[in-house]
């Protein structure tokens, strides 16, 4: 229990930074890549997108954009589950939520490094 208590500020810090990243960057990217590109509103040719993603700085940016808000999700989703009454499962919920975010971080890193 003591280890969980001391790790709380760490996860909260990631939650906070992830919240900032999500607030500033997610709406425009969601609009561009999940709506405008599939609907053909913007020219999103594979060659153009590959050239963009291939740039090292863009990769760093994409890592920040994708990985950090996952910790924001983990923190909020953890407390949604607790707030609807799953207090008894406090520890497994926390492990599952933050664990998923860590897995997501590793996958993001892997995808960005392999492309």
């Amino acid at each position: 229990m003591s280890s969980r208590k001391t790790s709380e500020p760490f996860w909260w810090g990631l939650f906070s930074v992830g919240g900032v990243v999500a607030a500033f960057l997610v709406p425009v990217h969601l609009f561009l890549h999940a709506l405008a590109a599939p609907l053909g509103w913007i020219p999103a040719s594979p060659a153009r997108m590959q050239a963009l993603v291939g740039h090292p700085l863009v990769k760093v940016y994409l890592f920040v954009l994708i990985a950090l808000p996952l910790y924001h999700w983990a923190h909020r989703f953890r407390f949604i589950l607790e707030d609807v009454g799953l207090h008894a499962l406090r520890t497994p919920i926390a492990v599952l939520c933050y664990g998923s975010a860590v897995v997501g971080t590793v996958l993001t890193l892997w995808v960005l490094l392999s492309i």
């Binding site: 999500a22 960057l25 709406p27 969601l30 890549h33 609907l39 594979p46 994409l62 924001h72 996958l107």
Partner: protein, 136 residues
Amino acid sequence: MTTAPRAEQPGLYYPKLPATWWLRRPAYVRFMLRELSSVFIAIFLVVFLIQIYRLGQGPEAYAAFLGTLRSPGWIAFHVVALAFALYHSITWFNLTAVVQVVRFGERQVPPRLVAAANYVLWVVVSLAILLFVLRG
């Protein structure tokens, strides 16, 4: 489920509330929607990561994935997700403006002004990303 299970750890008290307690007041519903926005944002980010992964597999795989995202179900989901993402941004900027005290000399900058600065920065950053992706 009507009551919360009793907590096993001593010293922690949890009031017994039904799982639907947040439906009682509009403010509670707004709170829950704000928290839920993170779920929609996370799903989009996973979709986006898959999109990048498919791009790495080649032009055909990328085009096929865009075709999947063009289906009415995905478009509907992402319209809702965009609304949630905007709701997160708005609530986040309003909240951080109150939490984060900015001082100018002796005086504290009013939270409304801090929020306004965040909104301006948000618009500028979004436009810059838009231009970068469209023209590069």
